[in-house]
Structure formats: C-alpha cells, structure tokens
C-alpha cells in the first residue's frame, strides 16, 4: 500500500509553542537573571554576578533549606505511615467497597485546599472543639496552644497531600497478587517477614512515587504552612514569594528557585533510582 503522508504530528505544534513560551522560556529567563545584579527598583541590570548564589550560603538561608527539607521529610514519612496501611486495607477490600473508598479519598482533593486548612484552623484554635474536649477530659487545665505551631503546620501538609500518597500506594498494592504473600507465609515466613521481604519490595515503586508527590510540593506549599504554623520560621516557598513580592529582588528569588529546581531534580533522580526494578534495599 502506498504510504499516506501523515501530517497529524503538526497538531501538537500549538501546544509545543505555548509550553515553550510560557514554561521553558520563563525558566530560562530566571536562570539568566539569577546571575545578574538586581536593579534598585524592580528588575535586573545587565551586570553579571555570582552574589545571588553566594547569598544562598548565608546561614539564614541554609537554615531555610534544611528546615524545608526536614519538614518535607517529616511530612513524607508521616503520610507514608498513615497512607500505606490505609492503601493496603483499601486494596484488600471488596471491589464495590474499594470503589467507594477511592471516591472518598478523592473528594477532598476536588474541594478547595484552603477550605481543608480552614477546617483545621477551627479545630485547633484556642476555643475550638479539640481544646474544649481536652479541657473537659481534664487533660489540660488551660487551653493548649495547638494552632500556629510547627506541629499544626506539619499536620496541615500531611492532610493536604495524603491522597497523593494513598493513590499510588493503592495502585501498587492492588497489582500485587495476594497469593505471593500467602506463598511466603506457607513457606514459613512470619507475617512481618513476609511483609518486609515480599510485599514491601514489590510495592516500592508505588511508595516511591507517593513519597515524591508529597515531598516535592511540601517545600513550596507555603500558604498551608503560614495559616497553620502562624508564619514563624520560613519554608523555601515563602522566601521565594517574599523576594518577588515584598523585597522586590527577582535575581535572588530566581537563584532560590534554581536551587529549589535542583533539589526537586535530585529527589526525582533518587526516586527513579530507588523505584527501579532492582531495589537494593534489603
């Protein structure tokens, strides 16, 4: 048959042009300005400098980086600790129930994330329901400070991002044939050993994507951090926001963003390595 000349690929041209113009170019632009000196008002001069990157090594910003990574790591581990057992229970439920559970996990995602944070603000505030309960039970004598703490900020992150941990874990566990674990048990492995040597390694790709989907956004999700953590301390997203909108120093904001991109890239690369077929974990 005579080959047809196919120009279908050209249909992708508008999308390619749009994304080049509004994603690739802006990123290249901030890479460039991160090496330039700032202008007095807003904007950049054309003087090359490494000062923006040198400033990243200032102890204040080192602390922002370690703090953000620490928060992201804690949020990731906590989401995994809550999300994995939930995903496991979900995957082993009856099909009809599983569909309902999946829906219940996804619905909060469709509502506004601010609204979910607001729910926690109400719950944790000084005269809120949780404090009332604690007072009545006699656990505390004065209302405890729950809102505007680091713990509340961590809780908010976990709460906001939990579906992103549950869903990939669920997919991985669902694909795992339960007979594989049963075989391990029949061959004499204890439940714990069967889990550690069979279930966990086989569901590692799901765990790794879940971890990445929680870890990466946490460093930038500053509005959750601010509303529940009370704006004490700072995470990377907040500092970038302030450099752009308050300090009006785009070159330094750009350098911070480049560092955040590098960090994200490193996490993705790590995830690819750990999530690969050969998991040299155990």
């Amino acid at each position: 048959m005579k080959p047809r000349r196919d120009r279908t690929a050209l249909l992708a041209a508008p999308m390619a042009a749009w994304m080049a113009l509004f994603t690739a170019l802006p990123l290249l632009y901030i890479l460039v300005i991160s090496f330039l000196q700032r202008d007095e008002t807003w904007g950049v001069t054309d003087i090359l400098t490494l000062d923006n990157y040198r400033r990243l090594l200032d102890p204040i910003y080192i602390k922002v980086f370690t703090g953000s990574i620490g928060l992201a790591a804690r949020a990731t581990l906590l989401s995994l600790a809550v999300g994995y057992p939930f995903a496991y229970a979900m995957a082993r439920a009856k099909p009809k129930r599983r569909a309902a559970l999946t829906l219940l996990v996804v619905i909060p995602f469709w509502t506004s994330s601010l609204m979910r944070v607001y729910g926690w603000m109400i719950l944790l505030q000084a005269n809120g329901p949780l404090n009332t309960l604690l007072l009545k039970l006699g656990i505390v004598e004065l209302p405890a400070k729950l809102l505007y703490t680091q713990g509340a900020a961590l809780l908010g992150m976990v709460y906001t991002l939990l579906p992103f941990m549950i869903l990939p874990c669920h997919t991985a566990i669902e694909r795992l044939d339960p007979r594989v674990t049963d075989a391990a048990r029949d061959l004499g492995a204890s439940p714990a050993k069967a889990f550690l040597t069979v279930t966990l390694p086989l569901t590692m790709p799901g765990i790794m994507s879940g971890c990445m989907l929680v870890f990466v956004p946490t460093m930038g999700l500053y509005y959750v951090y601010d509303l529940l953590g009370g704006g004490k301390g700072a995470i990377l997203g907040r500092v970038i926001h302030d450099q752009m909108l308050s300090a009006r120093n785009p070159p330094f904001g750009a350098a911070l963003s480049v560092a955040l991109i590098a960090l994200t890239g490193a996490v993705v690369a790590l995830q690819r390595r750990l999530g690969g077929r050969d998991i040299g974990f155990f």
């Binding site: 047809r4 249909l11 939930f86 601010l114 609204m115 109400i122 509005y223 509303l227 970038i240 926001h241």
Partner: protein
C-alpha cells in the same frame, strides 16, 4: 485463607483515616449555621451567614473573576492539550533519515509539556511573574488566564494521552481504508472514543484553576482577585463564619458534581456499554 484475626486492623485504619479526612470539612459546614460570630463556637441555628455572603460585593466579584479565569483557561488549555496528545501519539515519519530527529523533538515537546507537573508551583508562578514583567504585560485577568492555561495543559494532556494509548490503532486505520479522510476518521472514530477523557480533563482543569492559590498570587493584578486569594487574605486576618458559609456551598457543589458523575457512570454500565471513564 488465614485466620480472620489478621484483618481486624483494617476497618480501624479505614475509619480512622476517613474521620481524619472528613472531620475538618464537616466542622466547617457545621459552624456555618452557628449564630456565634466566632467561627468554632456552636450556638443556635441561623442562615444569616449565607445571607450576608450574598450581599458581600467583594466576594461576588472574586467569584466572578474565578469563574471567568477557569472558563477561559479551559477554553484554551483543553483544545491545546487534546490536539497536542493526538499529534504526539501520531506515527512517525517513515523516512529513517528523519526518524531520530522526530523522536528527539517529540521527547522534547513532551518533556516541556509535563514540566509543570514536576515543578513546585512557586517556581512556575515566580518565573511567569518575572517573564510577564520583562515583557511589560499588565497584570490582570489575562496574565491569570495564561498562567492557569499553562498549568492545566499537562494534566489534560496526560489524561487524553493515556486514553489514546489504550485505543486500538486499527480502528482509525479501518476508517481510513474504508475511504475516510484523516479529518473524517478523527471526527467519526477517534473523537467519540476519547471524549470521556477530554471531559475528565476539563473537570480536572476547572477544579485546579478554581483552587489555585500560589500561582495566582504571583500573576494576579490589583483588579483581579480570584476567590481563593480572597479567602486566603480573609483567613490571614482571622476566621469569620461567612467563609464557613462559602466553603459549605463549594463543598455542596463538589459533592453534587461527584454524585452526578457517578450516576451517569452507573447509567452507562446498565446500558451494557464498556465503562470508558474507568481508566481515567
């Protein structure tokens, strides 16, 4: 099967996590009916906050801005991403000389397209803000629409792409062999098959545009505050039951939409047709 005892923990964790997920949402709704001015204190029952909300001009303005931005960015992002997915899924040129080059271009386009999914939102927001300032754009509804379109495209693209990958290429080939032109084959065969994916993609794009805080914060103008930005600034000032009423309405609309889409899905199942939306 092994002893029944080993699954005893499952209902516990399922219930605990669901309570954790829904308790804050339920509280927001509950307190929207409280007479107390302090959100979080339950006293009596009233519709006042809803009435007050309808009279709040600034809130209404923000809602209109949000609806307009969501609508316009869907109008741009859905066709762009759908055509993009179709274009990138098309078979390569058969000339070996160009095959490698075409593969490289395709990889590059796909990489740039899905970049916003991997990128922290704050980076996309700040880079768009810097680029818009450099270009001398006026910050307002059009910068919002452009930014929202940009972060919606990859999600719509990924959804449509996965649907296309599940299609049997022989279907289109059969249409072509029977004499249909490429446009006709697309219109009569491919489009109806990927329509559910386009629909899910559109829903997702609307939801994401409507919920976005971070990117909008960088690219909005003085006259164009979206609803999430408005809610955010009032939450920073302190909580008010009016916000509860607003959030309860949003929750109600979402639940209604989800229920409706479930209903439609079940109808289709009863009709005996394969459930196409299940893959999405």
């Amino acid at each position: 099967m092994r002893g029944r005892g080993r699954s005893a923990w499952r209902p516990v964790i399922l219930t605990a996590v669901l309570v954790f997920l829904y308790l804050p949402l339920a509280l927001v709704a509950l307190y929207s009916f409280s007479e107390s001015k302090v959100a979080g204190v339950m006293k009596g029952f009233t519709w006042d906050w809803y009435a007050k909300l309808t009279r709040d001009g600034a809130m209404g303005q923000a809602l209109r801005t949000s609806l307009r931005v969501a609508g316009l960015s869907c109008l741009v992002s859905v066709p762009l991403a759908t055509l993009g997915a179709i274009g990138l899924a098309a078979r390569q040129s058969r000339k070996a000389r160009f095959a490698k080059l075409a593969g490289g271009v395709r990889g590059l386009v796909e990489g740039v397209t899905v970049l916003p999914v991997m990128l922290p939102e704050v980076v996309l927001g700040m880079s768009l803000m810097a680029a818009f300032s450099m270009a001398g754009a006026r910050f307002g509804i059009w910068t919002l629409v452009t930014a929202h379109t940009t972060f919606c495209v990859p999600y719509v693209y990924l959804i449509v792409k996965s649907r296309l990958a599940g299609l049997d290429p022989q279907l289109t080939e059969a249409a072509r062999d029977l004499g249909a032109g490429p446009a006709r084959a697309f219109w009569d065969v491919t489009l109806p098959l990927i329509l559910p994916a386009i629909f899910s993609g559109t829903l997702l794009a609307v939801a994401m545009s409507f919920d976005d805080v971070i990117i909008s914060m960088f690219v909005n103008g003085a006259q164009s505050t979206t609803l999430p930005l408005k809610i955010y600034s009032s939450l920073r000032a302190g909580v008010t039951p009016e916000i509860n009423a607003l959030c309860t309405i949003i929750l109600g609309v979402v639940c209604l939409a989800v229920a409706l889409s479930q209903l439609l899905r079940n109808d289709k199942k009863r009709g005996g047709k394969p459930d196409e939306t299940d893959n999405v």
